[in-house]
Symmetry: C2
Subunit: 316 residues, 2 copies
């Protein structure tokens, strides 16, 4: 592709953005400037929504419409997403988690409920374990890739046996900070890929990347595929450190019979082990299996997501 609008520039200089229904704000957190949108009244419980990989804050736009009467809602772009800063070589769960710690301290300033999807669900878990005392009231982990997003999982499939090959393609064809940007090459390679998840999640004949992908730093994909993102954050230690109530959801998933690869965010074994560890902490947690749900329930069915979140938050 090598479209000059998309390649290499820092977020502020890139003319790839589109308008949205909620106003966006920027806050200086020290290392990064974080972009976010806010809705709802200040006297409602604070709620932070954390997007998944290749999503920006506005993936929650429909859900925010439904949640803004009940919550003071903040939806954020993480480093390397949307309009927040890019930080080459510095994409780790710990750095992203500490960005959220600072965001909650500086932009919200009171105990907060957090809900995150996919890698955002890992960060919701991270916050429930490692945030500053009193910052987090509870965490909804929406289909988080527990162990399955790491290169050396204690349990079950690694990222190389799950979505990793797709991230490898993002890294190879798009490049850190869009330094390659070969959209056509990636699209065609995905059609032939050995891994069923890559074929399923290919981009057909789309002439350009979808909007949220344009806003994303492909170095995220490399950090996940190479394993550096979670190298110093083993998931079993994070789960064992959880200190506040958890709702863990698990959406449609299966195993490819040909290869044993995981089709989905995490396996039944990984769900079982996560529950075992959470049970050992003594915190209150619930596990909700939604076998018919898309990975990103909050985008595919915002009404159902809002209903689940609202009902669980009422118990905190």
């Amino acid at each position: 592709m090598a479209d000059s609008q998309v390649t290499q520039s820092s977020p502020a200089a890139r003319n790839v953005y589109v308008p949205h229904g909620f106003q966006e704000h920027a806050i200086d957190l020290g290392e990064i400037t974080m972009n976010y949108a806010e809705a709802g009244a200040r006297d409602r419980p604070a709620l932070v929504l954390v997007p998944g990989q290749t999503e920006s804050w506005w993936g929650y736009e429909s859900a925010m419409q439904l949640l803004q009467d009940d919550f003071h809602v903040f939806a954020v772009d993480l480093r390397g997403q949307g309009r927040s800063s890019w930080t080459p070589k510095r994409y780790t769960l710990d750095n992203m988690g500490n960005d959220l710690v600072r965001f909650i301290a500086l932009a919200i300033g009171r105990p907060t409920i957090v809900s995150g999807n996919s890698s955002g669900g890992l960060l919701a878990c991270w916050l429930s374990a490692y945030a500053m005392p009193g910052q987090i009231r509870g965490a909804l982990l929406e289909d988080p890739p527990l162990w399955s997003s790491t290169t050396e999982p204690l349990y079950g499939q690694s990222i190389r046996q799950a979505i990793g090959p797709m991230f490898e393609m993002f890294s190879k064809y798009l490049g850190d900070q869009w330094s390659i940007g070969d959209w056509h090459g990636m699209r065609e390679a995905a059609k032939q890929h050995r891994h069923p998840l890559v074929r399923m999640m290919g981009h057909g004949n789309a002439v350009e990347p979808r909007q949220s992908l344009k806003e994303y730093d492909p170095e995220w994909a490399r950090a996940f595929h190479e394993g550096t993102v979670a190298l110093s954050c083993p998931h079993e230690r994070m789960l064992a450190a959880v200190k506040v109530p958890i709702l863990l959801t698990h959406h449609a998933h299966s195993t490819d019979p040909e290869s044993g690869a995981l089709i989905g965010a995490y396996s039944d074994l990984q769900a079982k082990k996560a529950q075992d560890i959470l049970a050992s902490t003594g915190v209150r947690f619930e596990y909700a299996l939604f076998e018919d749900a898309a990975h990103s329930l909050h985008q595919a069915d915002p009404a159902r997501f809002a209903k689940v979140l609202r009902a669980w938050a009422a118990t905190l």
Copy 2:
């Protein structure tokens, strides 16, 4: 050795500590409990002192005596040092730096001067680059191992050509969380080691580890030798992000003519490159070459250290 007082237990359970002249306190930072000592009046400028590897807060005890009339002084134990929490698999500059961000926010609550020695000097640099806005007034980097404490340095010798082999021995003979504790084996192996720095820094015939080493989690040594501690914190990016005045000191150093190994904390080339990058940021910085000074000046000559720090702090 396999002394049950020293092996494997978490810091709180280990009976290895000795009394000191300043009272110690503990603060919950979310993931870790940080141990620290405090001296001086609250109306004086706040100063945080960060020890180096295999040192605890009380390495600054003599310096604190000299500084307490001029500063509100805090000396800390980092994760894996002294009485602070051990965090297996989670020793990174970013996690240690964010512990200090939280400490400054929760225990000090106002703009702070920071001074750190060796790896503590790297963390002083980290804070000057990545702390929350307004937290840091200036940073004294006391003989920091710039690039020379990483496995893939942009400039000069790597840790494997510097102190790395000694850390490799700590890791091999003492083990993560003192899981091996073979003090005798390490002491004897150091005497024969190919690397001159390891022979120089060996422990002679000492029958047990020195006090500060007993208080240290040897997993630190592995994290440095294997390179995971700075894997997502390239030093050139950290230096380029510095936002406040810096005093960079450089102590006795040389190159072993036989091997090219670095005898010291960082080389002249590394000092030159650090200055070039700092100059490009536009921040005020000074470089002070103390060719006769020990690596840990604040321990070897507290009066000289206090004089240097006091004079520089007066200019902030």
